[in-house]
């Protein structure tokens, strides 16, 4: 039985292991932004609605405001910082720039991560499945078409 008051956890973020002390009530979002200083992960609603806090956990997109830090023991977390050298990811970044998919940029990291997940994992990726795939993230500048086109170009 493990009952944690405040415990040292080893977590793997962007292929680097960090040993940090976390309290059970800290979310993954808290740990990434406040403990590890990874500020590409944004937050706006803290309740699962906006998707801006999305990261990849073992390769799957999840909203980090709804994940407790203790749930990510033995899992690997990926944010955009960890993908900067990845060739496919770089292509996706360029596609976002080329298509004008970035306005204020607040939502961009989340869309890049989900776009990356979709291209890597979905066969026969069509416009509808991209629309469904990004459906949990809100772009306040509402440039969805450019975002969808950017992902579609790399399918």
């Amino acid at each position: 039985m493990i009952v944690n008051e405040s415990e040292s956890l080893i977590i793997n973020v962007n292929n680097i292991e960090h040993k940090i002390s976390v309290k059970p009530n800290e979310t993954l979002l808290d740990v990434l932004r406040l403990k590890l200083g990874i500020k590409s992960v944004k937050a706006a609603c803290w309740s699962g609605d906006c998707g801006i806090c999305t990261v990849l956990i073992d390769g799957k997109p999840m909203k980090s405001c709804l994940v407790l830090s203790h749930e990510i023991r033995n899992k690997s977390i990926m944010t955009v910082e960890g993908l900067l050298e990845d060739e496919l990811f770089q292509k996706l970044q360029n596609s976002f720039v080329k298509n004008g998919a970035i306005q204020c940029g607040f939502c961009t990291s989340a869309f890049l991560l989900v776009g990356y997940y979709l291209i890597k994992n979905k066969r026969n990726l069509d416009l509808l499945s991209i629309k469904k795939g990004i459906n949990g993230i809100i772009c306040r500048c509402t440039g969805y078409k450019q975002i969808i086109d950017s992902i579609y170009e790399l399918k």
């Binding site: 009530n25 309740s47 999840m62 909203k63 709804l66 407790l68 203790h70 749930e71 459906n135």
Partner: protein, 286 residues
């Protein structure tokens, strides 16, 4: 409406049992002070809003029994903690339980479906729970365990009030059992919502199997409602207008939609009738 007033969560301890036995025994000794955690898509929002304030959170995700997804004879077993994204990958679910598949495929959004579970949807027991209607028409049984006994609850006895189910504080849902019909079964789930990731304003489910026809309604009464309309249907054929009026009268008496900021009672009633017609058209023959 979500109105987040706290950026941090309240303080609690967390337990991550790896066996059902361990989870049940922790729950048994702490049942008034603990909360179960599956995907956290309801629980973390409630914690943040301080609508709950547990001392201990019991994370159920590492318990093998709660992660099963398989056919056992003529029953399909869905573990309570299986993420919806994984259930959607099952060919059997897609083939045998069309209405459930549709509901799961539209629930929350694709990102949240990597976390959200049916166990959690039933745990919250919202009147708008999307899995409730399909589980009602597919005759699901909720498998529940406590330290001393296990029991099976027919889904129609499970919901007892707004966000209330019949679980005892020391019980955990381990799985959902759904009978696989050998008959030619046709089912449908229709959901009215304002935008893509919204909770249902109305959910209507319908099934026709073995010459029985049933309807289920969510978000239009304090609990999900099952209405058996077999007596009004003959030869698996769609009812004529006169018969439909009788069916609608029965349904209208069973439901009690409310006025709230998302829709008025009149609109909900009107649209429930329209969706009921549409659902019957889909599961019955001309």
């Amino acid at each position: 409406m979500n109105q987040i007033s706290h950026l941090t969560l309240p303080e609690f301890k967390i337990v991550t049992p790896s066996t059902l036995r361990e989870a049940l025994s922790i729950l048994d000794t702490n049942n008034t002070r603990s909360k179960l955690l599956a995907g956290g898509t309801d629980l973390l929002v409630d914690l943040r809003n301080r609508t709950i304030n547990p001392n201990i959170i019991i994370d159920l995700k590492n318990i093998p029994e709660l992660n099963e997804l398989k056919q056992k004879g003529d029953i399909f077993v869905i573990g309570a903690a299986v993420p919806i994204a994984d259930i959607l990958k099952s060919k059997e679910v897609r083939k045998n339980f069309h209405s459930l598949y549709t509901a799961l495929n539209e629930m929350c959004d694709e990102i949240l479906r990597f976390r959200a579970t049916i166990g959690g949807n039933l745990g919250t027991a919202s009147p708008a729970a999307d899995t409730a209607g399909p589980l009602l028409i597919h005759r699901a049984r909720i498998i529940v365990a406590s330290k001393k006994i296990s029991r099976e609850i027919p889904i129609q006895e499970f919901f007892i009030g707004v966000k209330q189910n019949c679980l005892m504080p020391n019980e955990i849902i381990t799985a959902i059992h759904i009978p696989i019909s050998t008959e030619n079964e046709k089912s449908v789930f229709l959901k009215l919502k304002r935008n893509s990731e919204d909770l249902a304003l109305i959910g209507v489910s319908a099934i026709n199997y073995n010459s029985q026809t049933k309807l289920a309604f969510t978000a239009v009464a304090p609990i999900p409602i099952l209405v058996d309309i077999t007596a009004y249907i003959s030869g698996n054929k769609r009812p004529n207008e006169e018969k439909f009026k009788e069916i609608w009268k029965l349904v209208k008496n069973a439901i009690s939609p409310i006025n709230d900021l998302r829709a008025s009672r009149e609109y909900r009633l009107h649209m429930t009738e329209i969706l009921t017609r549409k659902a019957l058209k889909e599961v019955l023959q001309k």
